[in-house]
């Protein structure tokens, strides 16, 4: 009989506690709005505020747009780098890590400075000031989110591409008459499902929790709302945190459900 792997379990339990204890603390706190008893009062208050649903919906929409934009940007790029420019891989990888080095505050001020006035090239105007309209500002917001999600999304896609024989699959599709858009849509995207899902999950979580960019662009996002609320209330923000946690997981489950293609795709990459 094998010995009980004590050390592995110890690390597992420690790791689990590290994540679960703060969550439990928040949950416990959110239930104590009435002294001495556990109650759902904080949750009732949170739901009663229409601003909650409005800001969460807004962030949800921004997250979905961010995921779509970053997929359309990153999958073809990573694919092309894999296929044709493998020597550039370290450089691209470094570029995608830049958001870790450049703080969000720098990024958002850069965005505001550049796009807060009409953009001109050689004094020919090509873009009006984007911060003047909600749509323009939302576009800036998504652009900022895409940058923040870059390290996670790129890595997820890169891992997915490494796991399949990109070159041979591409050549097989080419020899059958497929063009590049078809190859991306019918062969590369579907086989990246797992990678894309984890990238989308991380992006979603980042967007829901992102404070700095949304705050400075003055958009009605969820994190600024939560931050504002916590200035005046104690229990409701804790309740909202738990709710948003649950909603995030539910949303991810939904994405997983919707994108679930043919069964067994995940097991099919190897021979």
């Amino acid at each position: 009989m094998r010995r009980f792997p004590f050390l592995s379990w110890l690390w597992f339990v420690l790791g689990a506690l590290y994540f679960l204890l703060p969550l439990y603390g928040t949950l416990d706190f959110s239930l104590r709005i009435q002294r001495g008893t556990l109650s759902l009062g904080a949750y009732r208050n949170a739901f009663a505020d229409p601003q909650f649903i409005r800001s969460f919906t807004f962030s949800f929409q921004m997250a979905v747009v961010t995921i779509i934009v970053s997929l359309l940007l990153i999958v073809p790029t990573a694919y092309w780098v894999h296929l044709r420019l493998p020597r550039l891989r370290p450089i691209v990888e470094f570029l995608t890590l830049l958001p870790f080095v450049i703080p969000a505050i720098v990024l958002v001020f850069g965005l505001i400075r550049t796009y807060g006035r009409p953009v001109t090239i050689l004094s020919v105007p090509i873009l009006p000031s984007l911060t003047n309209t909600p749509l323009g500002t939302n576009a800036l917001l998504v652009a900022g989110y895409v940058v923040l999600s870059l390290p996670y999304m790129y890595r997820a896609v890169d891992n997915g591409l490494r796991a399949m024989d990109v070159r041979t699959l591409t050549e097989a599709a080419l020899s059958l008459g497929a063009g590049w858009p078809t190859i991306l849509r019918r062969v590369i995207f579907p086989n990246l499902r797992t990678g894309l899902l984890s990238g989308a999950l991380l992006t979603f979580a980042i967007v829901i929790g992102e404070l700095t960019i949304a705050n400075f662009l003055a958009r009605p996002a969820f994190a600024p709302y939560l931050a504002l609320l916590s200035n005046s209330r104690a229990y409701e923000p804790a309740a909202l945190t738990i709710i948003s946690f649950a909603l995030t997981w539910a949303a991810m489950g939904l994405i997983d459900l919707l994108t679930r293609g043919a069964p067994g795709v995940l097991g099919g990459a190897g021979h």
Binding site: M164, D165, T168, L169, E171, A172, A173, L174, S175, L176, G177, A178, G179, T182, R186, V187, P190, N191, R193, G261, A262, G264, V265, G267, G268, A269, G270, H271
Partner: protein, 352 residues
């Protein structure tokens, strides 16, 4: 005019030339193999026919059309890869129908063609399976069906059997030949396995270091090699250093023992030459022909249908093959034997 023509094709990669001055004419319906060791340029040449690599110079013509610079997805060339390269997200049926779907054929026509292809590869009930549910051999059959479904002008196979078990390899080899002959499709096959090349091909192109060494039928390649590379790469070959005694009469001397060849020798008397002998041309005993050599048995390898015997001829080792049979007396190691072989079994080459 030949169906597929490669005319002075040359390919140079950044560091070194990969293929030099490649000329080949392939007739419609012909099965041609590129045979050679790894790095000889055979796969590069195949990839140029497929369009995955562009030749540095030269032309490729298919049915009279210059396709040298045509992109791979506009060539109508079917390709089978060593790694199968089936699309893991699609069923077997969808894989086979992929090319037709790209060509926007009606759904009913695709369904029919897929069915026909599944029957052709003897997997009629696997259409709804996913590739990972099939064995390697089955996956490669599906890859073959997928390449054939688009009714390509040429079928290209890049070491398609290398990833398979020995037994499946032989089975699938026969399948490939059967299907190729049934459809009459022009086929180019790349392999480093001489047995594969010999058993499948109408003609074999032996390559080494980017150049063609010889083009010929398997019989010609094996029995009448034109270069010493072909002679040593295809099959097993014994090489004996001999001295020419009488060039006009084709007489040689090996360690004081006289040997006769069936043709005159183009080198002067007294010159040192290499005598090449196939193991299967030699016999233990004196029944094999007029030439005799004496030696001691050094090793005996039982290979099933044949027994390979290593004989030491006073310094030089030589191997000979005997057909197995139930009453065969296996030679004993250490015992002295006389070997014999006919004059026509001897090829003489200038010293290697």
């Amino acid at each position: 005019m030949a169906f597929l023509e490669l005319i002075t094709v040359r390919k140079v990669f950044a560091d070194a030339p990969a293929v030099e001055d490649f000329n080949l004419q392939v007739e419609r319906g012909e099965f041609v193999s590129f045979l050679g060791p790894s790095g000889c340029g055979k796969t590069t040449t195949l990839r140029m026919i497929a369009g995955f690599e562009a030749p540095s110079s030269g032309f490729i013509r298919l049915d009279g059309m210059d396709i040298t610079n045509r992109p791979p997805n506009q060539r109508n060339v079917g390709m089978v890869f060593q790694a199968y390269a089936l699309f893991p997200n699609m069923t077997v049926g969808d894989n086979i129908g992929f090319g037709l779907k790209i060509k926007k054929r009606p759904a009913e026509a695709i369904r029919k063609k897929v069915e026909e292809m599944l029957a052709l590869i003897h997997l009629p009930d696997k259409g709804h399976n996913y590739p990972y549910q099939l064995s390697g051999g089955q996956q490669q059959r599906v890859a073959l069906a997928r390449a054939l479904a688009i009714e390509p002008q040429v079928l290209l196979l890049d070491e398609p059997l290398s990833a398979l078990d020995a037994k499946i390899r032989v089975e699938l080899r026969l399948e490939i030949r059967r299907i190729q002959q049934q459809l009459g499709i022009t086929t180019v096959y790349v392999t480093h396995d001489q047995e594969e090349a010999m058993s499948l091909s109408d003609r074999v192109v032996v390559m080494s270091r980017g150049v063609i060494e010889q083009v010929g039928t398997p019989f010609e390649i094996y029995n009448y090699p034109k270069t010493s590379f072909v002679a040593s790469f295809v099959g097993t070959l014994n090489q004996l250093r001999c001295t020419v005694v009488d060039a006009a009469a084709g007489r040689l001397s090996y360690g004081g023992q006289d040997l006769m060849t069936s043709d005159s020798i183009s080198l002067p008397n007294g010159a040192t030459v290499t005598l090449m002998l196939r193991p299967e041309e030699l016999r233990l005993g004196t029944e094999g022909g007029d030439n005799r050599l004496n030696g001691k048995v050094e090793s005996v390898n039982f290979l099933g249908s044949i027994v390979r015997v290593g004989v030491n001829l006073g310094g030089a080792p030589i191997t000979l093959d005997i057909f197995n049979e139930r009453k065969l007396e296996i030679p004993r190691v250490g015992q002295a034997y006389t070997l014999s072989f006919p004059p026509h079994a001897c090829w003489v080459m200038a010293e290697l």
